[in-house]
């Protein structure tokens, strides 16, 4: 049987990226559950807000990507602290069911607030664009100078801006003034133009390397041997590196620092830890903040990798699947969250890539049946099977807490 290796590598690359993003969300679930035994239902919404904030900072405020990451981590850490202080801290002594219902409530609240603020879908544009705002028509100048003679009036339209650092008041915009003519660079007043930053070309389109394989014979085009090319996008490499660096940093934080030791102590036994002088409430708040900051990074990576679909419900599926990943790896284990997330990322991506192919090979005559929308269903199925048969997860020990 011939294998389309280019397609296979593409699926593999998507699987790794998806798994990295789930892993960053899953650590938040697993750390919180490890300490206070709460499924923080609102964690998916923290991820959603991380993506929203980073897109807003990047597109509307035009901050560089390296500034966006720490800023939205900070925002989400604050959100995590808020969630813990306002919603969960008063319920420490009540039943776990009450805490879970509160978490569901917080999730609804965060979704509702975001929906009220941004009713429209947001997407990360792949191009930087300039749009005339405010007036219907704005006079464009030939040179960036106040009082220079007007070239034409331009309508609200989108075009690529050429910003000139030496002149703060005007923005050069490459505009097609008449249909059919070559675009010319005209200068518009800075406050008449709204610039939406897109991903830099280097990041958006660059390819780290490419490999060509001989494609399976039946896909020959015009008698020439078809090749299947795999291009490794820079985006994906960035996602992997960031995710693994974050996970590594988290591992060091938990294993090597004093607060990490306190977190581990609280996970083992809160009462004893408090007797040893650990401020349990502060540790729990810190855990929420770290977990939420990780979710924010996941949100940024998602918006870089996918670029679209950023709206108030986006946190729900990744949230549930990341929880499934945390359970799959053994809830309470950082390494388990990584392993579980990678497994589910692979399950989801390879299901999308190969489920139809498998069905058509195994069941002849299954014609138009499309199985690819069921990738999340497959993840949920994995979660259910794990919870039912091995509730302590792959890396967990039997006899550990199973809710």
């Amino acid at each position: 049987m011939d294998i389309d290796w280019g397609y296979f590598l593409k699926t593999l690359c998507n699987a790794l990226s998806e798994g990295s993003i789930y892993a960053l969300i899953a650590v938040g679930y697993t750390m919180v559950y490890g300490i206070i035994k709460l499924i923080n239902f609102a964690h998916g919404e923290v991820y959603m807000i991380g993506a929203m904030v980073s897109v807003w900072l990047f597109v509307e405020q035009q901050l560089p990507l390296l500034a966006v990451i720490p800023l939205s981590m900070l925002v989400c850490a604050g959100l995590g602290l808020f969630l813990d202080t306002v919603a969960y801290k008063p319920l420490r002594k009540s039943t776990r069911l009450a805490a879970l219902i509160t978490a569901i409530g917080m999730s609804l609240i965060l979704q509702g607030v975001v929906q009220l603020i941004t009713p429209n879908y947001h997407a990360l544009p792949s191009d930087t664009t300039a749009t005339v705002v405010g007036e219907e028509k704005v006079e464009a100048l030939a040179e960036p100078r106040a009082g220079a003679e007007a070239v034409a009036k331009v309508r609200p339209d989108q075009a690529r801006p050429v910003t000139d650092a030496s002149n703060k008041e005007f923005v050069g915009v490459s505009w097609r003034i008449k249909a059919g003519t070559d675009p010319v660079t005209v200068w518009l007043p800075r406050d008449a133009v709204k610039i939406e930053q897109g991903l830099p070309d280097v990041l958006d389109r660059s390819v780290v390397g490419e490999v060509a394989f001989a494609a399976p014979a039946q896909e020959d085009v015009d008698g020439e041997p078809a090749i299947s090319i795999f291009r490794l996008p820079l985006k994906d490499v960035l996602v992997w590196i960031t995710a693994f660096a974050m996970m590594g940093g988290l591992h060091l934080l938990v294993q090597k620092t004093k607060i990490g030791k306190a977190m581990r102590a609280c996970a083992l036994d809160q009462t004893t830890a408090s007797l040893m002088g650990v401020n349990v409430n502060r540790v729990i708040a810190f855990t929420f903040m770290v977990g939420s900051a990780m979710a924010a990074v996941a949100g940024i990576l998602y918006s870089i990798k996918v670029g679209g679909n950023i709206f108030f419900r986006m946190g729900y599926y990744p949230g549930v699947i990341a929880f499934a990943a945390a359970v799959l790896g053994g809830i309470g284990h950082l390494k388990g969250a990584l392993v579980g997330a990678m497994l589910l990322g692979f399950a989801s991506s390879f299901w999308q890539g190969y489920a139809n192919w498998g069905l058509h090979t195994l069941v002849p005559g299954s014609g138009g049946k499309d199985l690819s929308p069921y990738n999340f269903a497959f993840c949920f199925l994995v979660m259910i099977v794990v919870i039912v048969f091995r509730p302590y997860g792959l890396l967990g020990r039997a006899g550990a807490d199973r809710a």
Partner: protein
């Protein structure tokens, strides 16, 4: 007074009186309603959600398991009823004319590689798009090519044979009189089928979740509900997919001789209203009887402590299974009635938010009591309908006598926010709900105490014989 507040029957009486008072008037009195047509629709929704609340209360309130997947039952009941109403029995060999454009071929059939389809054209109707060609693709391709050559000025039809067996309708609809589910009895049978299907699904879902409690049970039911949602969304041949199954005057059954197409459906609506009210009464009595039965006591024991219940000789597995079954049955009945109220059943019925709404009712009213479910459904569903009105600036302007250019309105999205706030605040300040059950059971009344004092046999007797 507080004793009356904690009496389920008193609450049922209050709601029944309200529903009868504000419901549609009988045909003899001119069919109007005090609250208007919109009000009647709101009352119908509230009653149906009360059935859902009572059904879910069996699992959440009595047995103490947080079920986050009740929307699956609501949707499945609705789909069974809506699907059953549009279902027809097609005899073999009958032919009918179908527009050529509505015939759909798969990729394999278009290339005629997988199976060269000679012979008569057999089609199967899908509610979301036209007709799937089951066999005979060759003739369809030939006809389509011929149409392309002649220019296709007028829509051409092709004579096809419907796929034999019980299928969704092909071409002409059956006359209502001859439809198996078109009459009152047929509809009740269909409702029963919906209940049984959902009860069976409840038991099926119980198999993997039997050993689970607490938040793992919640998350597994959520996962199963998501799988059901994805199946309903993607299996268009069965559920209509994203477009859903639509019911119209032709397919909505007659109720007690009233047809929805006659006299703007007023008499039908009156009959339907009282059918729903009867179903609510049934759900209440069913649930109340269960609560007071031996089974209800074992549920309470499981809720208090599963291990202790097991040690006391309660068959925990059987009791839980029966709870899933009873809850699913009521969900199916309610869903079936909801299908007639909505007239369009889509996958949106199976969303997680729908489950969470019903959980909100129970949390609001107080988990574990039927009165809580009734009160929660009435208060929160009423609130939701009021918010829907508030979302309309015209209505706000007219009702509150605001200036003519007022655009004041609360956006529809606020509903989710308000439900979330309510959950959080209730859990923080009154986790037992508005009308909580008493710790233990209700205290005995004075009459009961007097009767017990008069009784010769002691209340407890060592040795078992009482």
């Amino acid at each position: 007074m507080s004793k009356l507040l904690r009496n389920d029957w008193a609450w049922l009486g209050v709601f029944l009186v309200a529903f009868v008072l504000f419901g549609p008037l009988p045909p003899a009195l001119g069919m109007g309603a005090i609250v208007g047509d919109f009000g009647v629709q709101v009352l119908l929704t509230i009653m149906i959600y009360m059935i859902f609340g009572v059904g879910l209360n069996i699992v959440i309130g009595y047995t103490g398991l947080l079920d986050l997947g009740y929307a699956s039952f609501m949707a499945m009941g609705a789909i069974v009823v809506a699907g059953g109403l549009v279902l027809t029995l097609q005899p073999e060999g009958e032919t009918l004319q179908v527009p050529l454009d509505d015939l759909r071929l798969t990729q394999d059939q278009r290339e005629l590689e997988a199976n060269a389809n000679a012979g008569p054209v057999v089609v199967q109707y899908r509610p979301d798009w036209g007709y799937d060609v089951v066999s005979g693709a060759e003739a369809v391709i030939a006809a389509k090519q011929a149409e392309g050559e002649t220019g296709g000025s007028e829509p051409k039809t092709l004579s096809v044979q419907p796929y034999a067996g019980l299928v969704l309708p092909v071409g002409q609809k059956m006359a209502k009189g001859s439809h198996p589910f078109g009459s009152t009895g047929g509809f009740f049978l269909l409702l029963l089928i919906a209940g049984v299907v959902c009860a069976a699904f409840g038991v099926l879902r119980g198999i993997p979740t039997l050993r689970l409690t607490g938040d793992y049970y919640a998350i597994v039911t959520l996962g199963i509900a998501e799988i059901v949602y994805l199946v309903i969304q993607n299996e268009g041949w069965l559920t209509g997919g994203a477009f859903g199954i639509k019911l119209d005057g032709e397919t909505i059954p007659q109720l007690f001789g009233a047809d929805p197409t006659v006299d703007q459906g007023k008499i039908w609506l009156f009959n339907f209203y009282y059918v729903v009210l009867a179903a609510l009464l049934f759900a209440f009595v069913f649930s109340k009887r269960l609560e007071l039965s031996r089974l209800g006591r074992s549920w309470a024991a499981i809720k208090a402590d599963e291990v202790a219940a097991m040690a006391s000789g309660i068959d925990v597995k059987k009791a839980k299974m029966l709870a899933f079954l009873a809850s699913g049955f009521l969900g199916g009945i309610g869903g079936g009635l909801y299908a007639l109220k909505l007239t369009t059943v889509t996958h949106a019925q199976a969303e997680v938010f729908e489950s969470i709404i019903v959980v909100c009712f129970l949390v609001f009213g107080g988990m574990g009591t039927i009165r809580g479910a009734l009160l929660g459904a009435a208060a929160l569903q009423g609130l939701a309908e009021f918010l829907r009105l508030l979302a309309d600036p015209f209505w706000v302007r007219e009702t509150f006598h605001l200036a003519a250019d007022s655009e004041l309105a609360i956006p529809n999205e606020a509903r989710m926010l308000i439900y979330g706030l309510m959950l959080v605040l209730l859990m923080r300040f009154r986790p037992q709900g508005i009308l909580p059950p008493r710790a233990g059971s209700d205290p005995p009344t004075d009459e009961q105490l007097a009767e017990w004092r008069k009784a010769k046999t002691p209340l407890y007797e060592v040795g078992g014989k009482a």
